[in-house]
């Protein structure tokens, strides 16, 4: 039962430490020229931070499957929003009308 699950404080401190470390890394990485990878690294770190907040601070790791379904649903719908829109905008130049 999720209701009986009281997480140890130490786990919260560990997650907090990781979040701080990631904040430090993301600021440091921003000052290094990685080309396109700068954005990739920044987003990867942000996604990792968000994931540990959701799993531990928000207790989703210990929640019911129904809660999991709703949480994953939010990511899925966000994916639809982003992927379908970008699939339009990013491919507009692929077609050349009247030319070869």
């Amino acid at each position: 039962m999720m209701s009986e699950h009281i997480l140890p404080k130490r786990l919260y401190y560990t997650v907090f430490g990781l979040l701080m470390l990631c904040t430090y890394l993301t600021v440091q990485a921003a000052f290094i020229d990685l080309g396109v990878l700068n954005t990739v690294v920044a987003l990867a770190i942000a996604v990792f931070k968000a994931t540990i907040v959701v799993l531990f601070f928000m207790h989703v790791k210990y929640s019911t499957r129904l809660t999991w379904a709703v949480v994953l649903g939010s990511i899925f719908w966000l994916g639809i929003l982003i992927v379908l829109t970008l699939s339009d905008y990013l491919t507009r130049r692929w077609l050349t009308y009247g030319g070869a």
Binding site: K9, A30, I32, A42, V54, F57, W77, L86
Partner: protein, 229 residues
């Protein structure tokens, strides 16, 4: 009446009336807690898509005007953004500890951690206000008084429009969060929150952490692009 019957009767009495936290449509506090968590998450899904639309808009414009976005982002002061990230993450920790205190029935720690969370939230808004003030002075606010190098003048306004819109919307969420936390302090003070009934704290915590997550994405996307150039 048999002892068993009496025990059952008193149990039913507790379920239907005595325990002020349990609403009559739920069988147990655990079920009620699950329903509350699920309900909050359903709301958060709508919030994800609400902010998601703005992040998508940002992605499209940044793709089109990457030069202007880089130049405009560099105009933002990096230290207030970084300090605010640290402040907000710390407030998430104190919020998590508040939920822990509620679960263990530690009323004193609960009120203390809620107060610290509110304090950190206020510090965040204070720093944000300082940034806005600086931005207005620098002519970053889009409109007739906008000032920027001629090359990126029009496109940089799009960056700053998104900056003020997204951070402003985030700040409104913070203000609402502070209001929610004030109610939580009041409920804890009155003794409504117990080790059995702490849904309000848990669910408010979910909201608070969500607002933190929005900032986790806003910070690198608004403040940190093109810092190496």
């Amino acid at each position: 009446m048999s002892p068993d019957g009496a025990a059952q009767a008193s149990h039913i009495g507790e379920v239907s009336g005595h325990h002020s936290g349990l609403a009559h449509q739920f069988d147990s506090l655990a079920q009620q807690r699950e329903a509350a968590t699920l309900g909050m998450w359903c709301f958060l899904v709508t919030e994800v898509l609400f902010f998601g639309g703005l992040f998508l808009t940002y992605a499209l414009y940044r793709g089109w005007y990457s030069g202007a976005f880089t130049a405009a982002s560099r105009e933002l002061l990096i230290w207030p953004g970084t300090i605010n990230t640290v402040v907000l993450i710390t407030s998430s920790l104190t919020m998590a500890l508040a939920v822990h205190a509620a679960q263990t029935g530690d009323r004193r720690s609960l009120i203390l951690f809620l107060a610290v969370t509110m304090l950190l939230g206020s510090v965040f808004l204070g720093i944000k206000g300082f940034e806005y003030y600086e931005g207005f002075l620098e002519g970053h606010f889009p409109g007739p008084r906008f000032q920027f190098e001629a090359e990126h003048f029009r496109e940089a306004q799009i960056f700053f429009s998104l900056y003020y819109l997204m951070t402003g919307l985030h700040a409104i969420h913070m203000i609402i969060g502070l209001g929610v936390m004030a109610v939580m302090v009041w409920m804890s003070w009155r003794g409504t929150i117990t080790a059995e009934y702490y849904n309000p704290i848990e669910v408010s915590g979910l909201y608070w952490h969500f607002v933190d997550i929005v900032w986790i994405f806003l910070f690198p996307l608004l403040y940190l692009i093109g810092r190496h150039a």
